[in-house]
Symmetry: none
Subunit: 202 residues, 4 copies
DNA sequence: GATGAATGAGGCTTCATTCAT
DNA sequence: CATGAATGAAGCCTCATTCAT
């Protein structure tokens, strides 16, 4: 009785995710969601009391789980190439969750509930993992001493700028080669910027 | 009876800007805009054929003009403290336009017209100015050779992470001191990451 | 649970027909139609994308079909009394569709779509049938040779003048007796006017 | 103080007439009338308390005067060619007033005030003149005895069918030649239909 | 559990009318 | 007299939500 039956709830969530990411939450109608999910409009309300509850469900820990992996369990080898290749791998996870990320980032501005979920998950846990990694490297004297949370956020911002370029620029303005160089430079700049240098006591 | 007759158009634009930035474009009603602008709903449509036209007017080059100066005419003294203080100064312009910036960034995702406006103003011109500055420093052998556009974007992302922290985090989690340190670290990491080092031939 | 579920579409069409014929298309509001149809305003738009689509649906061939029979299959006995009684009989069809006819004729002036529908139905087919009848009588030498289409239109005009008198004059100015005489004279004048006379070589 | 000043009232009436005849009364906005009359919207209301009053003013005796001429002062020569040529001449008056006629006929259905004006002017006077003419011919034994009012209305209907053909059919379907024949046949049918014949005692 | 017709509040927009200049 | 900005009621239409089947 477990796996087989068409999981309507999941289907509706997927449909909503697709549409929210394309048109935004307010501009998406329940009728469109029903059509995309190939179910009746009424069915949606058997699973979600309210349209807004669909949005909130998308920001639930379970849904965000995919995103958490991005900065989790970072190995402590700091060699430039290793870090870069890891980041490239993680990018796959991001790409798979891009639609969700877009919805979350956009709607978090306007909905307290989403914002809270984001802080407690992405904010605390995800960036926390990265900050933890940075902390350890500082302790080992490899990175210079700085606020690891701030450093993690800055790195997140660099990464974000990559995502913005990748997903909002027209493809001809940001090709495969650009992407590769971009990621290399993020790692370069960040590592060079954070690494401890002889005689540096800032 | 002197010059300043109540400029209704401007008042409506301001009201819309406030509400769009608080609730998003779709979630803001023309009735709310009218109420905020203290005019009749019908009056709005004497100045804007369509609700969407209010949004577009907000994103017009004229509106974005203020933001252009942020990275324009950067002095070529590269000393860390100078750069940092400059950036702090420019931040005032950003802060004054933050509401607009938020609306523009959010709605650019969903409206082709806005997106174009953004590319041609924020994208091309602003980041272009920063890229030009970086280019000159590379030529002088101060920065290591890298793609100046990518570097500019990365810096933009770092900056963006600051804005996100400043405007989305609850104030008690990001106080004046945090902000100062954050900006310092952006400059530190970026400069150290981009500067040419002895024996570096990456 | 049997067959006849409340046919909302038909009910809305009937309500619209009544109101359009009383107040005209533009002066009728969808709220009034909903009230007359005893349904919610929103319900109307489940069946018709647009108010104008209600009007167009009213003018669809299906709706005009009833009117086509008016001059169809006219027997070729030309005796005055026969023709007159026939016309009186057909009048029933007209009367039953008078509201529709009024709407169609009125709105055809302003809506291209309606006009086309009218030409292809009332114009071409109905008058065509009458013209065909006239043609046959000409061939038999009973009517004098003339343009049968024009003759049909002229007859239509005579008939129209009757309808105008019947439906626009206050009833006390156009009683049963008047109607009878009016129809007799239409037939008289038309037949005398169209019949071939000895020594007539117009 | 009499002739020279731009007669705003007349200009507004003309503008309204043009638009009412093109789009109908309800579908015409005061803004459009103001634009067509090259005056401010507010100016309209200095001359007409209400939009509807513009319409009513159009149906005033003074405005209808032109139309009255059509059947007035008919000479009593009944010769076919004379009558036909007269009608052709009168047609000029009709053409000049066609816009007004269209508005009057259309809106009379929906506005009591207009309807009354039409009865008392067009109905009584215009058709009355024609009926008087017919009466005289009957008295002289040239037309057979019949209800002259009905006969006048029937003739009016024939004429109306001509106007409908002329103003609603696409021009290529109703050329100059058609028009000439049409008018000839109206006269033919009417005269032959109404004339007294030997041995006719209907 | 699923459906989809029905609802009615409310959204965007229009428009006749008013009124200060 | 003329103007045209402002009004707000009302029009058309949308949409989240309900409910009988």
């Amino acid at each position: 009785m477990c796996a087989k039956k068409r999981d309507t709830r999941k289907i509706i969530l997927d449909a909503a995710l697709k549409l929210f990411s394309e048109k935004g939450f307010s501009a998406t109608t329940t009728r469109e969601i029903a059509y995309e999910a190939r179910c009746a409009e009424g069915t949606i309300f058997r699973y979600f009391p309210t349209k807004k509850d669909i949005l909130i469900s998308l920001a639930r820990p379970a849904a965000l789980h995919g995103l958490k992996q991005v900065f989790e369990d970072l190995p402590e080898t700091n060699d430039k190439t290793v870090l870069q290749s890891i980041i490239e791998n993680r990018l796959k996870v991001i790409s798979e969750n891009m639609k969700l990320l877009k919805v979350i980032i956009t709607e978090a501005q306007f909905h307290e509930e989403i914002r809270k979920e984001v802080y407690e998950n992405i904010g605390a846990e995800i960036l926390g993992a990265l900050a933890g990694y940075i902390e350890k490297r500082i302790d080992k004297g490899i990175f210079r001493p700085l606020d690891s949370v701030i450093a993690a956020r800055i790195f997140g911002g660099m990464f974000l700028s990559f995502l913005i370029s990748k997903y909002m620029l027209p493809p001809e303005k940001f090709d495969e080669e650009d992407q590769k160089v971009y990621l290399q430079e993020i790692v370069n700049i960040f590592l060079h910027g954070i690494v401890k240098k002889e005689g540096d006591n800032t």
